[in-house]
Symmetry: C2
Subunit: 418 residues, 2 copies
C-alpha cells in the first residue's frame, strides 16, 4: 500500500455537475460534468475504446474530431491486460495516451451476455421459468447469477471467473477512470415480470455494496484523483419498477452521505419505448446529477433520449459499422463498399469538417476496403465518430440557442427521408 | 485526350540530381534528387505503400516520422483500383493524400513472383532446364515470359493479364509517380548462366521499348509534371553481365537524347555479395544520375549499399515485421509480443524521437498485440519506419560530416552485438 499516512481522501470536484439551459416543457438540459481530467459539455457522446483503444484510431485523432471523453470496458481490461497492469501504468488515460475524461462500465453487461449467443440474455440457476432461461441453441451457458454475484467463463479461453459488486469496484478503481458504473444485473425483455422484480431488488442490494466498496477504496487510494460512481437503473419496460429502482438508488447515501455521483439508465430498452422509459427515470432522478444512457448512437434515439433528460451516451456502433464500410451521412447511412463509389472523387460528405472528408475521396476509401487495407477502418471510424460527436454537440447548441425543435425536425427529416 | 494544343512537353527538373559529398576512397556519396513534388536528400530510405497506403499509418504520420518519399506497386494498383482510377484522381500522391515525392515499381517483380511459391523464382516456357523451372510443389505456374512480355494470373482472382514494357509504362504514367522503373525480367540465383545472359539481353530490349513508350507518353500527357524513369540493372551474380547490363542501359538515349534519369539495381542479390555487385554496377553507371537499390532494409545492408554508391532504397520489411510485433532497436531487433514486456512501462527505445516512443509504453503495445488491436500495427510501424528512415538519414549526415567509418562501426557494433 503506497498511501501516505494522513493523506486526504479524494472528493468529487465541487460542483461535479452544473445545469446550464433547460428545454422548455421537457426534461432535456445542457450542462457540464467536471472531472479531474477536464470538463464534459453535455449532452455529449462518449466514444468507446473497449480495450483501452478506439479501434484503428490514434487518440490525437479522437481529440481532433471533438471527442470529449472515452469509455473502456472493465470486463475486457480485466481479462487483458489485467487491471493491475493498467493501475501500474497510472490508470486508463495514461496507459492509452488520452489525457481527457474517461469512463469504464462495470463489466456487468459483458459477463452476463458475451458468449451466450443472444444479446442481453442470460440464465439464472434459481429460476426455472422458460423465458428466463433463453440461450442460443448449441451455446453453452457461460454465466450464472446468484445473490452475491456472477460466475462466468472468459470468452477468450473459457477460464472461470467471478464478478461481485466488490470485485467490479476494485477493478474499476484499478482502471482509474473518472466515471465508473455500479455492478448491476442485466435482464432482458424476455424475462418474466417476477424475475424483473427480483432483479431490481438484487441490483439495489448490489448498489449498496458498490457504494460501500467504492468509499473504502476511495479512502485507501489517496494517491489518485476522485473517481465518480454512477448507479445503474434497471426495471425493463415496467414503469413502477423503473421508478422504484430510481428512488431506491437515490436513497443509498453511503457513509459519506454523498450517494451516487450520477446515474446510468441500463437494461432492456425497446426503441419505441425509449423516450417513455427515460422520462420515467428522469422524473425520479435528482436534477443536479448527470444521467448516462448506455448503448445508443442512432440520430433519432439521441433526440428522444436528450429531450427526456439524458446527458451522456456511449455506443460502439459508429466505429463498429465503420469497419464494415457503413458510413453516417446527414442524408442517411450508406455503404461505401458498393461499386457506385469506385470513381466517386468527392468526399464522403462535402460539408463534413472531419479529417477524412478534408483529405480523401470516396473512391480512395472504396479502394482501401476492396484492397483490405487497415486505413479503411481508420478513415471511416474518424468520420463516423465525428458525425456522432458533432450531432450531439449540435443538439446541445440547439438547446442553448433555443432552436431545438427546428434542428430536430430538419436533422431527422433529412436523415430518415425515404 | 485532354492535352492542350502546343502544350509544352514536360522535362525533368534541371538538375534532376546533384552530388554533395563523396565518401573518401569509396563510391558512396550524398546528394539531392529534385522532383516536381519536392527534394529527396540522399541516401534516403523510401517507405513502401504497396496499394497507395502505408499499411495502418496515416500519411501525416509518415511525414512526421521523416519519410521523404513513398513507393507504391504498379502490379497491385493495376489490379485494384485500376490505374485509370488513380489517374482520374490526379495521380498517386493526390489519391492517397501524400504531397511529397512518390515512386512506383514496374510491376515486373510481382507479376513474375507472386503466387509462384518461391520468391524471385519464375518459369519460362522456352527453356527446359530444370533450374530455370523451379516452382513450389503444388503451386500452379502463374507467370510465363516471352520475348514480348509476361502473361500472368492475378493472385486475387486468377484472372489472366499481360504486361509488356509498353503496358508497364502506360500504367506507371497513369499512376503518375515522380520516379518510375523500366519493366525488367526477374531472374533468380537458381537460373543458369545461359538463361541470365538471355535475360540481360531481353531486359535491355525491354528497356529500349520502355524509353520509347515513356517519351511518347510524356509528350502526350502535358497536363502532368515530368515523371523520371529509372532503368533496371539485371545480371545476377555475374560481374561481366552486370557491367554489360549497365553499359547497355547507359547507351539507350531515346529520341530526347536524355536516356534514363537514374538506375535501379535489381535481381538476385545474395547478402554476402551485395556490396561487390553494387560496386560493379556503380563503377559503370554515370555518376550524375541517382541509383536505387530495390528491397533492402537491414542496417548492415544499408552501410554496404551506401558505401558502394547506392542512393535510395525501398523495402516492405519495417512495416511488415512491425505487424508481427518485431521491433527495431539500436541494440537489435526484438519481439514485443513476449511476456517479459507485460509490465514494462518504458518506451520501446528511450532515445527514439518517434511518436510511439514519445507516448506509449512497451506494456501498452504488448497489450495491443495480445488484444489483437489494429493500433498495435500502427504504433509499431511508425516506430520501425522512423528507425529505418533515421538510420539512413544518420548515414547521410555521417558522410557529410566526415565521420562515416566511426558511425558505421558504432551502429553495427551495437545492433549486432551477440
Amino acid at each position: 500500500m503506497d498511501t501516505p499516512v494522513n493523506a486526504e481522501v479524494p472528493t468529487p470536484p465541487d460542483p461535479f455537475f452544473t445545469v446550464r439551459t433547460r428545454l422548455d416543457g421537457q426534461l432535456g438540459r445542457t450542462g457540464t460534468i467536471h472531472t479531474p481530467h477536464g470538463d464534459i459539455a453535455t449532452p455529449s457522446f462518449v466514444a468507446v475504446g473497449t480495450k483501452a483503444t478506439v479501434k484503428a484510431v490514434l487518440p490525437e485523432s479522437m481529440k481532433e474530431l471533438g471527442a470529449q471523453s472515452l469509455l473502456a470496458n472493465a470486463y475486457h481490461l480485466y481479462l487483458q491486460p489485467g487491471p493491475e497492469i493498467v493501475d501500474e501504468a497510472g490508470g486508463l488515460g495514461q496507459f492509452m495516451n488520452w489525457d481527457g475524461p474517461t469512463f469504464t462500465d462495470s463489466g456487468g453487461f459483458q459477463v452476463m451476455s458475451l458468449g451466450v449467443g443472444f444479446k442481453k440474455v442470460l440464465a439464472m440457476e434459481a429460476v426455472g421459468v422458460q423465458s428466463d432461461d433463453v440461450i442460443a441453441k448449441g451455446k453453452e451457458r457461460l454465466a450464472t447469477v446468484d445473490e452475491d454475484g456472477v460466475t462466468f467463463k472468459s470468452h477468450l479461453n473459457g477460464s472461470r471467473h467471478r464478478f461481485t459488486p466488490e470485485i467490479s469496484m476494485q477493478i474499476q478503481h484499478q482502471l482509474g477512470a473518472d466515471i465508473m458504473f455500479a455492478f448491476d444485473e442485466l435482464t432482458t425483455l424476455l424475462n418474466t415480470r417476477g424475475y424483473q422484480e427480483q432483479s431490481v431488488e438484487r441490483t439495489h442490494a448490489w448498489a449498496v455494496r458498490c457504494i460501500a466498496e467504492h468509499e473504502k477504496l476511495t479512502a485507501e487510494r489517496t494517491h489518485r484523483p476522485y473517481q465518480a460512481l454512477f448507479g445503474v437503473v434497471q426495471g425493463a419496460q415496467y414503469e413502477d419498477l423503473r421508478r422504484q429502482a430510481c428512488r431506491g438508488l437515490e436513497s443509498i447515501t453511503g457513509e459519506s452521505g454523498r450517494g451516487f455521483d450520477g446515474y446510468g439508465i441500463g437494461g432492456a430498452l425497446e426503441k419505441q419505448n425509449l423516450g417513455t422509459i427515460i422520462r420515467w427515470c428522469n422524473e425520479e432522478l435528482p436534477e443536479h446529477k448527470p444521467r448516462h444512457l448506455l448503448g445508443i448512437s442512432e440520430p433519432d434515439d439521441f433526440f428522444v433520449a436528450i429531450e427526456n433528460g439524458a446527458d451522456t451516451f456511449d455506443c460502439v456502433n459508429p466505429s463498429r459499422v465503420a469497419r464494415n464500410a457503413a458510413i453516417y451521412h446527414p442524408d442517411g447511412r450508406f455503404n461505401i463498399n458498393t461499386s457506385r463509389f469506385r470513381r466517386d472523387f468527392t468526399p464522403i460528405d462535402e460539408n463534413c469538417d472531419c479529417y477524412t472528408c478534408a483529405n480523401y475521396t470516396r473512391a480512395y476509401i472504396h479502394h482501401l476496403f476492396k484492397a483490405k487495407e487497415m486505413l479503411a477502418a481508420t478513415l471511416c471510424t474518424i468520420h463516423n465518430e465525428r458525425f456522432t460527436v458533432r450531432l450531439v454537440d449540435q443538439i446541445r447548441d440547439s438547446i442553448d440557442g433555443g432552436y431545438y425543435a427546428e434542428f430536430k425536425a430538419e436533422t431527422l427529416g433529412r436523415f430518415y427521408r425515404p
